[in-house]
Structure formats: structure tokens, C-alpha cells
């Protein structure tokens, strides 16, 4: 049996979706994404005065006939895009709801990563994968094609939640591989400050960063009633408490923390959305890329 993290109904809905980037480099060939750079292309951008060194075939001779001056016709270059999928594989991603104990945050993240890869494959964009964990940081360099998709699936298949979020020195490969103007989609629970800091720095360094924050339904509803021992899988701290007594306080604080984080991300120019573990995996993608459609 092949490993396919995408449920069939989600795969069906993916047909209406398209990965879009706000900025594409335009430096590396012809693709689907609008870029700031001018050059040869189908989409007219502007005329500009001829400068020595311009190719003669770029001169608009009809305009020369009208105005007796050399103008060069410029178009927008439509470029391909490199899509980086960064999956947080720290231990906190292994959390799941009690009602569906075998479906963790990481499983949802894998499904979303596979969806993004599918979209990129269809658009002809290159896609790569980085999984972050202090037990080991794995990188699959961006490429296109079915083979790359299968490689990605293999990487996702072997991914297990373990350890903490990697420290800053361990994140060096991320800086080495991700080039400017690349599209970076981070899938994480966003509970680690290091993760937010990484996204902010990537965004500041002119990478287009998108963030899908995955929550369990329990973090939204806090349906605990009775005595529980809450365990943090990463710091291994514990808290004993009565679910009902803790609920109101937790929901208030958690909502406030989410608002603060969203404000930070917006300030850094990071497009972001969330994913609840009990909703379909393509919902955040529609929120990010569905746009006004």
C-alpha cells in the first residue's frame, strides 16, 4: 500500500486551488508567477527609452515609426517558484485529541504538506521539504516532478514527532538553502518562540513566508471535566488540575496569546492562518490561496 496522506475528498477539492506568491524572483526561467522583474514575457509592462546594449529585436518599431525615437517594449517575466514546506516535527506536534487519539497534529501537517506538494507539482513549481526537530533536521532540496513528490512522501512517511524545536545554530541549513523570493510555508503549532523568530527573520530577508498554525480541538474547546495531569511533551513539566476550574482562564489567555501572535505575524508581513485538528486539511489552504474566488 502506498503512503498517501491526502484524503480522497481533499484531493478532489484541490483542483480548484492554486499556489500564488506575492513576489516571485523571475530570475530563473519561465513560470506561472508574476514577478517584479521586467523582461521577455507575454504580459506588457511598460516602454522605456533605448539604452545602448539593449537587443535590437526588443525595440518597438511601430512606436519608432510614430515618434521617431527608439523605445524598448518591456514585459513582466512570469517565473517559476520554489516552494519550501517547513514542517515542525518537535514533540508537541505529536499531540492529538482524545476523541481521535491516532490523528496527531503532525499527521495533519503531513497531509497539508502533501497537498502543497501536489499543488506545486501541478503548477510546475519546484518544491522542497524541511522537517525541524532537534533530533535531526532533514532537508529535501526543491525539484519538480513525480519523483520529487514520491521523495517527499517518503520523507513525510518517516517523520516522527520527537524532541524540541532546534536551536538557532542548528537552523543554518534553512538559511543556506532557502533563497530570496522563495515561497516558504511553515506548518507548526507556533508554541516555540524560536519558530516565530525564524519566520520573522526569513520574512525580513525577503522570503515570502506563510504560516499555518495547527491547533487541536482541545486547545479550542478545552473539554476537560475532572482531574487531569497535563503534561508538556517538550519541557516535560506537569500540571495537576481540575478541567472545569482551569477552563475559563485558559481560554482567555490562549485567545490573547493567539491575538498577540497574529499581530506580530501581520507586522512582519507573514500571511498566516490556522488549522483545527477536527477540520479538513485543505481548509487552511483555501484560506491562504483561495482568495476572493
Amino acid at each position: 500500500m502506498t503512503f498517501d496522506p491526502i484524503p480522497p475528498d481533499v484531493r478532489h477539492r484541490l483542483k480548484g486551488l492554486r499556489l500564488t506568491a506575492r513576489r516571485a524572483s523571475g530570475a530563473s526561467g519561465i513560470g506561472l508567477h508574476a514577478s517584479r522583474s521586467r523582461g521577455a514575457g507575454l504580459e506588457f509592462a511598460q516602454y522605456r527609452a533605448y539604452e545602448p546594449g539593449d537587443e535590437l529585436r526588443q525595440i518597438d518599431w511601430k512606436l519608432y515609426g510614430r515618434s521617431d525615437k527608439f523605445f524598448v517594449r518591456e514585459s513582466e517575466r512570469e517565473s517559476p517558484l520554489a516552494v519550501w514546506i517547513i514542517v515542525d516535527a518537535s514533540a508537541s506536534m505529536g499531540q492529538s485529541d482524545t476523541t481521535r487519539a491516532d490523528y496527531s497534529r503532525l499527521d495533519a501537517a503531513k497531509a497539508m504538506a502533501a497537498c502543497i506538494a501536489e499543488l506545486a507539482l501541478r503548477q510546475g513549481d519546484r518544491f522542497g521539504l524541511i522537517s525541524l526537530s532537534d533530533k535531526g533536521l532533514r532537508v529535501a532540496d526543491p525539484a519538480n516532478g513525480l519523483r520529487q513528490r514520491d521523495r517527499l512522501r517518503l520523507e513525510l512517511y518517516g517523520l516522527k514527532p520527537a524532541g524540541e524545536f532546534p536551536s538557532a545554530p542548528a537552523l543554518a541549513p534553512v538559511w543556506e538553502r532557502i533563497r530570496a523570493q522563495d515561497l516558504v510555508i511553515v506548518i507548526s503549532d507556533g508554541f516555540d518562540e524560536a519558530c516565530i523568530a525564524l519566520m520573522e527573520r526569513l520574512s525580513a530577508a525577503s522570503r515570502e513566508v506563510l504560516f499555518i498554525q495547527t491547533f487541536t480541538a482541545e486547545e479550542r474547546d478545552f473539554p476537560f471535566d475532572g482531574g487531569y495531569r497535563f503534561e508538556d511533551p517538550e519541557s516535560c513539566t506537569e500540571l495537576l488540575g481540575d478541567g472545569k476550574a482551569l477552563r475559563a482562564d485558559f481560554l482567555r489567555k490562549f485567545a490573547a496569546a493567539r491575538q498577540t501572535l497574529e499581530a506580530r505575524l501581520t507586522a512582519s508581513g507573514i500571511r498566516h492562518t490556522h488549522h483545527w485538528l477536527d477540520e479538513v486539511v485543505d481548509a487552511p489552504l483555501w484560506r491562504l490561496f483561495g482568495g476572493g474566488v
Partner: protein
């Protein structure tokens, strides 16, 4: 009417505290849950304390099980409802309608199993006194008992009836069939005589007079069956085997020179014409021995030659049947015996079955996967 034979067993009820405590403690036991957003959880300094039990059904089952156990140890019984209707027992052979004036009373034949007088009269009982004692024991305290008897009773005990209640002893004209006269046959004689003992021939003559057999054997020969009287005419102490034979129910007749065991109950059984003892005897175990006080010679015991010597000996060796005919008015029962406790139905087996069922239910509830998972 339910009752408890051992009310102290109810002290086991104190054990119901156990499941209560267990279920309270299980509630306190916190279920572990992975929760990465721990930093937004703040521990309450005083968690809300509520007395709340988990698994109500299981708790109820366990409580019920313990209560039943306490009841079981208290040995519950169910006393049957007391039937206070007067009871009339009529001797078979009498007319119950003529004898009974009370309409509401239960009328039964005084016979084995006490059949109702609706049925035909059974055979007259051979042991009616025992039946009356049984009736007295079976009937609850306070039930009036009337016994209707004919003027003459056959088969009475030697002891006058003593019952726990005052019995109305109604004597009506009539009679019971007389019992068959018992013919008492003298025993056969087995004579063990030393060769120098001349007395054996008198006993042979006695056996001939009784028209019974007499065997003569040496003292070392095997002992006869118990219905045979042993005649021991050998000087010296009795062998152990013979003593044991007597103790297990044999009758032995001894000559003067045989040493007999000392006995308190030794009595003179036959005196001669001048009042001198001739035969003395005593019981030994289940059997008895008789011994001549003089040597077996006509010079010392002239009765040996008398014509009625076999009759005298027969009277000594056989026990005549006890008299059993009595005038009913002289046999009226006395009262004064302590009342019998009435038998009650034991409820313990049923409780045990119920407890086994409950235990099965409890195990099923406690182990089935149906139990709700933590939310």
C-alpha cells in the same frame, strides 16, 4: 416473617465504606493528557473539591454486593406464617364426624404422615404416642391440639406423654385392634464345659425340655451367634473374646467358679424357697451375664432336679414383651415440656446465588471496554 439468626453479622455493613473510598480515590486520580499549550494553563492554588463519585452503576453494584454479604453473614431466615387453626388428631378406626364439633379445625388421622380425614382411615398406628409427640413438636406454640382416642389404647409407651401444651384428650367409645400376642421362644443353648464339669447334662435336659437344640463344645471353640445363650462351665477367668462377645450383646450363663467382672448393677435374679440367692446377674455392655451362686450339683442346687427348672431358666433368659394396653383416661398427656423451636426457611442459599450474579455483573461492569474514555 424474616429474621436473623446471627445479627452480629450485620457489622459487616461497615465494609460499605470501602467501595465509597475506592470510588472517591479513583476520582482524585488525575488522568494524564498530553497538552503542549501548558504555558497558558495556570494552576489554581485551591482546586475545587467536590464529593463526586465516578462510575455510579459500578459503585451501586459493589455497595449492594457488600450489603448482601452482610445479610448473608447474619444468616437470615424466613419463619413460616403461623397457622393458628386448632388441630384435631383422630385415631384411625373412630368416626371423625361424630368426634369433631369444631368446624374450623383441621382434622387429621393420627397415623404416619397425618393424612386428612377426607381420605379413608389408614391402619391404626403401632406407635401412637410417638406420633402425638411429633404433632406437639411440629405444631407452632399456641395452637390448640385435640386428640380423639378410643377408651382402650394399644401400643402405648411405658412412659406417660409429657407435651409442651395442654392437649384436649377426648375419649370416645371404641377400641383399637389388639396387637398380635408375642410368643417368646427360649434361646438355643451353646454349652462350653470343661471335661470335669458335670453340670452340662442339666442344660442339655433344659434344652430338650424347651424343644431347642443344645450344642456342647470346648471352651476354645468359636462363639455362637448372639441369639444363642452361652453356658460357660469352665473354672477360671473368662477369656477376653468371650467378654467382648457379651459386651456386644450376648447372654452368658456361668457356673459358680467362673470369675465375673465386678459390676454395680449386680442383682439376685432367682432365690430359692428359703430366700437364699441362687442366680445373680448383671448387665455388661449391651449383653448380660447370669451366674449360679452354688455349684451345679443337686446337693447344692436341688432346683436342678425340679420339674419347673426349665421354666424358671426360660423366664430368666427371655424378656417378656412390655405391656402396651392402657385405658385412655389414664394415659392423658401431661404438660410441661419446653416448646420446640419452629423450623425456619434458610435464605442463605438464595443470597449466595444472588451474590454470585451480582459479582458477575460487577466484574462485567468493571472490566468491559464499554467504560467511557476520558474526555
Amino acid at each position: 416473617m424474616p429474621g436473623l439468626l446471627f445479627p452480629l453479622g450485620l457489622a459487616t455493613l461497615a465494609a460499605v465504606i470501602l467501595p465509597l473510598v475506592i470510588h472517591l480515590m479513583r476520582r482524585d486520580e488525575a488522568r494524564p493528557v498530553v497538552f503542549a499549550a501548558l504555558r497558558w494553563l495556570q494552576a489554581k492554588p485551591k482546586p475545587r473539591q467536590r464529593i463526586q463519585f465516578s462510575e455510579w452503576l459500578l459503585l451501586l453494584t459493589r455497595l449492594l454486593l457488600l450489603i448482601l454479604l452482610a445479610l448473608f453473614l447474619a444468616q437470615p431466615v424466613l419463619n413460616q406464617a403461623v397457622d393458628q387453626t386448632p388441630y384435631i388428631a383422630v385415631m384411625p378406626g373412630l368416626d371423625p364426624k361424630a368426634a369433631v364439633s369444631d368446624d374450623k379445625a383441621r382434622v387429621h388421622w393420627l397415623a404416619v404422615d397425618f393424612p386428612s380425614t377426607e381420605t379413608s382411615a389408614p391402619k391404626a398406628p403401632t406407635d401412637f404416642a410417638s406420633l402425638i409427640r411429633q404433632l406437639d413438636a411440629d405444631l407452632p406454640k399456641g395452637v390448640k391440639l385435640t386428640v380423639v382416642v378410643p377408651e382402650t389404647l394399644q401400643g402405648a409407651d411405658a412412659e406417660r406423654l409429657t407435651l409442651s401444651r395442654n392437649v384436649e384428650w377426648r375419649v370416645v367409645p371404641g377400641a383399637m385392634p389388639a396387637a398380635q400376642p408375642v410368643v417368646s421362644r427360649p434361646p438355643t443353648l451353646s454349652i462350653r464345659a470343661a471335661p470335669d464339669q458335670p453340670g452340662a447334662r442339666y442344660f442339655r435336659a433344659v434344652a430338650t425340655a424347651w424343644e431347642r437344640d443344645a450344642t456342647i463344645a470346648a471352651p476354645t471353640d468359636a462363639l455362637p451367634p448372639k441369639d444363642t445363650a452361652l453356658v460357660w462351665l469352665s473354672a477360671g477367668p473368662l477369656p477376653d473374646s468371650v467378654t467382648n462377645w457379651v459386651k456386644t450383646g450376648g447372654t452368658i450363663l456361668l457356673s459358680k467358679d467362673v470369675q465375673t467382672p465386678i459390676s454395680d448393677t449386680q442383682t439376685v435374679l432367682w432365690r430359692d424357697d428359703v430366700g437364699a440367692p441362687l442366680i445373680e446377674g448383671a448387665y455388661l455392655g449391651k449383653g448380660r451375664w447370669l451366674r449360679f451362686t452354688r455349684g451345679l450339683a443337686p446337693a447344692q442346687v436341688p432346683e436342678l432336679l425340679e420339674a419347673d427348672f426349665p421354666d424358671h431358666l426360660k423366664a430368666l433368659l427371655t424378656t417378656p414383651p412390655a405391656p402396651s394396653r392402657v385405658a385412655a383416661r389414664d394415659y392423658a398427656p401431661l404438660s410441661g415440656r419446653a416448646a420446640f423451636a419452629q423450623a425456619a426457611t434458610e435464605l442463605q442459599p438464595w443470597l449466595a446465588v444472588l451474590m454470585a450474579l451480582l459479582f458477575g455483573l460487577e466484574r462485567w461492569l468493571a472490566t468491559s471496554s464499554r467504560r467511557r474514555a476520558a474526555p
